[in-house]
Structures are given as structure tokens and as C-alpha cells.
């Protein structure tokens, strides 16, 4: 009982996930499709084979980064919805160094590419922060507008400066072989799962450590959790805002690594495929906790892969069901405080009546 009360938020979150799934399966039943078939297809599609699992992890990789990015900003009480643009810029920056310095060996190339991706995303985040701090532009507005600027800049690089003239696709030239991230075929079979997934886990662990165990992390959370108190203790909220949004942008900038360096080996227009926006849901579901973000990202990645088979293996359900499940989960998570309060009262009352 005590364990339940203590971790009630996590239980409610888990409940939200289950609720989302059940509602979606119910929906499937209403549409005349067997819920057990839908569930089987989803699960088999997500983890049924090494390759399927690999795809799920591959899809989860950018979501871990963008989820971390959104969470990082949330820790400082900031809402970064510009992860999509930051991811795009980061991916283009990685491709750019991969093209310009194509001869480098992996030992130099990987860190350089990651650095470039982080830097590009961080710059976009920093600009949003600058407008917030100096001009009072709310970061939600700033970051959503920055998305469009990012698309524009990315387009300039993909479609003009580094364009591959021999391709019908809107994409850059290929990056140098040293920049290509190794595949993780041991886990992921023939899927495009690559080392970027390991990078994502490492970054999550580092983020968790920094948030909990360092002054940087404490000040970050302080500036968001109790800004007036922090200000009166000599913490510069402006500086923390700049730092938080820059790091958040940098983390989002790394999200492109898996696609650009690990799979396509080039930046193609639209490679981000909405991972920046799904990252917001991932962060909410993971409750801003890096480990929670990993779990949420795996869930959403698995859903993305599993739902591809819905088109093939069911008659009446399309992969749009995955979107419905995601939406239902997010809604249930958004209602968490209300549910949680209700649940607490109920637990209390039950306890009272028991005695």
C-alpha cells in the first residue's frame, strides 16, 4: 500500500498507457477487427524478431534524444517545442561535416559529427532563449517559429549547398565512410539499428546524473522550480534559461544521428519525420525523468514499428491506429493530476473504512 501511494504518479502513468491501449483495442473491436489479432500484430511487429526489435529500437533512438531535450527544458520550467527544427538543423550539420571532411577516420569523425549536431541544435535553442531573455518572447512562440527558420536553413543546405545532383530525392551528397555509424546487427538483425541507440542511452544516463548529482543540474531545476527563491539567492534566471534551452536544443540536435549518420548516410529533406514533436509526448509520458524517457521512447518506437504491420495483417485497421493510441495515452497522461487526486482520495477512504 505504501509503495503504491509513494509511486502513485508512475502507477497512474502506467495506467494511462494501458488505458490508451485498451481504448484502441476496443475501437478495433467496434470496427469489427479482433482485438487479440490487433494486439498480436502490434506486439509481433514490434518485438517478434531481431529485425523487428531492431526497427523498434531504431525508431526509438531519435525519440530518446528529443524526449531528453524536451525534458531538460521542462526541468527549468521551459517548454521547448522546437525540437523538430533543432533535430533537423543538427542532422544537416552532421551531414555537412560528413561531406566536407569525408576523409576522416571514424575515431575522429564520430565525435566531430556529434559535436556539430549538438552545436547546431544548441544554437537554435540559444536563439530562442536570447529572444526570451532579451526581448520577452515566450519560448513556446519562439521555438515554434524557430522551427520554420530551421526548416529554411536546412532546406538551403540540403537542396542547394550540398545537394546530390544525381538523385531525384531532395537529399545531400553522401557522407564520408568514416562518419557512418556501425550497425548493431547483433541485436537488430538486418534493421538499420546502429550505435546511435547506444549514444542515446549514454546521453540519458549522463543527463540523469547531471540533473541529480551536479550543481549544473540543481541550478537548472531550481531556476524552473522556484525562480523567485533562486533569484533572491543570487542565481541568474536569465543565464539558466539560456543554458537550459541551449542544452535542450543540443540534445535535440543529436536526434538526427541515427538517421543521418546511421542509416541514410546523408540528410534527406524531412528526415526528422516528426520525432521532435513526438518527443514532447515522450517527455510527458516519461515525466521528465531520463529513464522514464527511455521507456516511453521504446514504447512509442515499438508502436511505430508494430503498427506498420497493421496495414498488412488486418483488414479493417490501418496504421493510423498507432496515432490514436499515442493520442489516447497522451490525453490520459495529461489528465494524470486529476486522476491522481481522485485515486489518493479513494485510497484514503478505503483505508479509513478498513480500520
Amino acid at each position: 500500500m505504501n509503495f503504491v501511494t509513494k509511486n502513485i504518479s508512475w502507477f497512474v502513468t502506467l495506467g494511462a498507457v494501458l488505458l490508451g491501449f485498451s481504448a484502441a483495442l476496443l475501437l478495433a473491436a467496434v470496427l469489427g477487427e479482433s482485438p487479440s489479432l490487433v494486439a498480436t500484430v502490434l506486439i509481433r511487429g514490434a518485438v517478434g524478431s531481431a529485425t523487428s526489435l531492431g526497427y523498434s529500437l531504431y525508431y526509438a533512438t531519435p525519440l530518446i534524444f528529443t524526449g531528453l531535450a524536451v525534458s531538460w527544458a521542462l526541468k527549468a520550467g521551459l517548454f521547448n517545442i522546437g525540437a523538430e527544427g533543432q533535430m533537423t538543423l543538427g542532422g544537416v550539420a552532421m551531414a555537412a561535416v560528413g561531406i566536407l571532411a569525408s576523409g576522416l577516420p571514424a575515431a575522429v569523425a564520430w565525435p566531430l559529427a556529434l559535436f556539430a549536431g549538438f552545436g547546431a541544435g544548441a544554437s537554435a535553442g540559444w536563439i530562442v532563449a536570447w529572444f526570451k531573455v532579451r526581448r520577452g518572447v515566450h519560448e513556446v512562440l519562439g521555438s515554434i517559429l524557430m522551427n520554420f527558420v530551421s526548416y529554411g536553413i536546412a532546406g538551403l543546405f540540403i537542396l542547394n549547398i550540398f545537394r546530390n545532383p544525381s538523385s531525384q530525392n531532395p537529399e545531400t551528397l553522401p557522407i564520408g565512410p568514416g562518419f557512418e555509424l556501425s550497425q548493431l546487427s547483433l541485436i537488430g538483425g538486418t534493421s538499420p539499428l546502429n550505435v546511435a541507440f547506444v549514444f542515446a542511452l549514454v546521453f540519458a544516463a549522463v543527463a540523469d546524473f547531471v540533473i541529480r548529482r551536479t550543481r549544473l543540474g540543481m541550478n537548472l531545476r531550481w531556476s524552473g522550480g522556484a525562480p523567485e527563491f533562486a533569484r533572491r539567492s543570487g542565481l541568474s534566471i536569465d543565464r539558466e534559461t539560456m543554458r537550459a534551452l541551449a542544452i535542450s536544443g543540443g540534445l535535440a540536435g543529436l536526434a538526427g544521428a541515427s538517421v543521418v549518420l546511421g542509416y541514410m548516410h546523408k540528410a534527406r529533406e524531412g528526415f526528422s519525420a516528426g520525432a521532435g514533436f513526438i518527443g514532447i509526448a515522450v517527455a510527458l509520458l516519461g515525466r521528465g525523468n531520463p529513464w522514464g524517457v527511455i521507456v516511453a521512447a521504446l514504447l512509442f518506437g515499438g508502436l511505430q514499428k508494430g503498427s506498420l504491420d497493421l496495414d498488412i495483417d488486418t483488414d479493417k485497421i490501418s496504421r493510423d491506429l498507432a496515432g490514436v493510441i499515442q493520442a489516447l495515452i497522451v490525453m490520459a497522461v495529461a489528465a494524470r493530476p486529476v486522476i491522481e487526486a481522485g485515486l489518493r482520495t479513494w485510497l484514503e477512504r478505503r483505508k479509513r473504512e478498513a480500520t
Binding site: L159, Q168, D315
Partner: protein, 365 residues
């Protein structure tokens, strides 16, 4: 008593009103999604009765991001597959790809399920098909509009320039102002190929004619921006153009709106679009994706699948000019001349300029 009951009920409802919000929203969602989530009924015949294995063979169709309702490229592919399904009793499984990364798992799933033939629609699928085809040597693959080399892959390319020359020639004959327009979708080599041949056709018919050309954009969204398409068409009409050829996917719908508004003519593309604005569409440059899909299924059914590149031109009606009740009156006076030109292209008497051949690297890789 009743009074009391009512009172406490009321108080309770008010007290817990926020708790009701979530369920109500969820209920609303369910209703909305019920409407939106059902599979679109353009489903392939037979697909609802068959699962994976059945009496006939099952063929996998991986559509491009536009989806099967794009009224153009993907719709044509689905139409061809349905025709083949009806005639040969095969089962078609199709999947729309939400993003670039999803082509590969879709193809792979089809191959893993033991389907003998997997067809990919659109040049974006060349890279993933190259990978998957190598991993499944026993499965046959076909790619439409791109070239993939491999012992188990057949590629279908269209000689878009031949058809474009032909409709350009028609435009040159019909124009009264001596000015015609071209609205391209995304600025890529393939659309440049349309434009170059179209220009040549116009000039061949009417050496003094002037051709205006614009592209909707340089990103994939250029295929789906009708308002920009209309804007460009109106601007060309403003400069005197009275016939506008579009090769702009869904953005072309804006071109049709513009010509209807200004009482001039448009030329459609890919599918037969003559009926979209009857009487205002001079003709459509057909790209018979449906024929290509039909053909490759037939070859598979008849056991004569042949890897390697295939090219569809005017000769084999892979590209053509649409004539039907909607435009017969418009083109009838010129049909004789056009048939002549067609023959000359087929026989090689007229060499239509090909943008791909003017480029150092060829249009596809």
C-alpha cells in the same frame, strides 16, 4: 428524501466535475476516431477474404508517401494492381509508407511473408529496395519510376519526354496568343525532363511561341501546394499564356482552378485528368503506371518475370495523350497531325531532347 438525494447528488457532481472531463473527452475521441480510423474503402478486392496464403499468389505493393488517394501516381498503381487482381485472381496487399524509413521494413515484411513479388512505387524506394532485394534473393522486386540493379529486380522507367513533346506540340497548335505555360512541382531532374521536351514540342509546332515555366518549390511539399500552383498559373495567364501544362502532383489542382477562372486551358499529367474541369482540360499526358504494375504482375503470374530495366514510351503506350469525351471536340482537328508526330517519334525521325542525357550524371542512379 428525494430532496436530500438530489442535493447530495448535485453537490457530488459539482465537487467532482473535473473527474468527468477526461472520460467525456475520451468518449468524444472514440467517436471521432471511429469515423477517421476505418480503412479506406479503396481496398483491394480479395484482400478481405484472404489472409497471407491463399489459392492465388499474394503480391505486396508499397506505395509512396502520397498514399493511394492521390488521384495520380499512387492511385494509378493501385488501379493497375486491382485490374491484375481481377484478371489473374491474385491477392494484393498494399501498405502506405508514413516516412522514408518505413519503406524498408514494409518491403522486408512482404518478403518475409513469402510473397513472390514486391512492387515499390516511386523513386524514393530505390535505396531501400537495393538493400532488401539483396537480402531476399528468392523474392522478385519491381520498382516503378526508378532504377535498381539486381538479379531479382526489375525497374520501370517512363519516357516522359516523349509524351511531353506530344502534348507540347498540341499546345503549340492550339494556342491563340502564342504563349503557353508550364507549372512544375518540385524542381528535380524528372520534372526538368518534362519541361525540356514540352518546350521542344511547342516550338516545333509554333516556332514563334513563348513558353513560361515555374516550379512550385524545391521541397517535397511542392507536390501538395495547390494555392501556390494556382498563383503561378494565374501569373502565367496574366502574361498571356492560354495553355498551361502542369507536372505538379496535387499542386496541379490549383492550375485547374486558375484555368477555369480565366477561361483558358490546362494539360493534365500522369492519370487522365480531362474530367476534372471538363472542357478546360486540353488533354492529359498519361504516364501509365497502372500498365506497368499490371504488366509486372502478369509476368509474375505467367512465370516469365525478367529482371533488368524496362522503359515505357509512346511505342508501348507507357506514355500517351488522353483523348476522351471531355476533350474530343478540342483536339479532333489536330489529331491527324499529332498521330503523324507520334509516328515520327516512335520511328526515331523526331529525336525528342532528353534532359537526363544533357546531364553529366543520369537522372537516376
Amino acid at each position: 428524501m428525494r430532496q436530500n438525494l438530489f442535493h447530495s447528488l448535485r453537490a457530488r457532481c459539482l465537487g467532482f466535475a473535473p473527474n468527468l472531463v477526461a472520460p467525456i473527452l475520451v468518449a468524444l475521441m472514440v467517436v471521432v476516431t471511429l469515423v477517421s480510423c476505418t480503412k479506406k474503402e479503396a481496398g483491394t478486392p480479395g484482400s478481405s477474404s484472404e489472409k497471407l496464403a491463399g489459392p492465388g499468389i499474394t503480391i505486396g505493393l508499397v506505395l509512396d508517401k502520397g498514399g493511394k488517394d492521390d488521384k495520380s501516381f499512387n492511385s494509378a498503381a493501385v488501379a493497375g494492381a486491382e485490374r491484375a487482381a481481377k484478371e489473374f485472381g491474385v491477392v494484393i496487399k498494399d501498405v502506405e509508407s508514413p516516412d522514408d524509413a518505413a519503406f524498408e521494413p514494409a518491403m522486408r515484411t512482404f518478403a518475409e511473408r513469402g510473397m513472390p513479388l514486391v512492387i515499390g512505387i516511386g523513386f524514393a524506394q530505390t535505396d531501400p529496395m537495393k538493400k532488401v532485394a539483396a537480402q531476399f534473393p528468392k523474392t522478385h522486386f519491381a520498382v516503378i519510376d526508378g532504377v535498381v540493379e539486381g538479379p531479382n529486380v526489375t525497374s520501370f522507367m517512363f519516357e516522359e519526354h516523349e509524351g511531353s513533346y506530344l502534348v507540347g506540340y498540341l499546345a503549340g497548335l492550339v494556342t491563340k496568343t502564342g504563349k503557353v505555360g508550364f507549372v512544375g512541382g518540385m524542381e528535380i531532374a524528372m520534372i526538368r525532363r518534362f519541361l525540356m521536351a514540352y518546350e521542344a514540342g511547342v516550338i516545333a509546332a509554333n516556332p514563334k511561341a513563348k513558353v513560361f515555366s515555374n516550379f512550385v518549390g524545391i521541397t517535397a511539399s511542392a507536390w501538395a501546394n495547390p494555392s501556390k500552383g494556382k498563383e503561378l498559373a494565374l501569373s502565367q495567364i496574366g502574361q498571356g499564356a492560354d495553355i498551361i501544362f502542369h507536372a505538379a502532383g496535387a499542386s496541379g489542382m490549383g492550375v485547374f482552378d486558375a484555368v477555369e477562372e480565366k477561361k483558358v486551358f490546362a494539360i493534365g499529367v500522369d492519370s487522365n485528368q480531362n474530367g476534372i474541369k471538363p472542357g478546360r482540360v486540353l488533354t492529359s499526358m498519361l504516364k501509365r503506371v497502372d500498365n506497368a504494375v499490371y504488366e509486372v504482375i502478369r509476368s509474375e503470374v505467367e512465370g516469365r518475370f525478367k529482371p533488368g530495366p524496362n522503359s515505357f514510351g509512346l511505342k508501348d503506350k507507357g506514355v500517351d495523350m488522353a483523348v476522351d469525351a471531355n476533350n474530343e471536340a478540342l483536339v479532333a482537328p489536330h489529331m491527324k497531325k499529332l498521330d503523324e508526330v507520334r509516328e515520327q517519334i516512335i520511328s526515331g525521325k523526331i529525336v525528342v531532347p532528353d534532359f537526363y542525357k544533357t546531364q553529366p550524371t543520369s537522372g537516376t542512379k
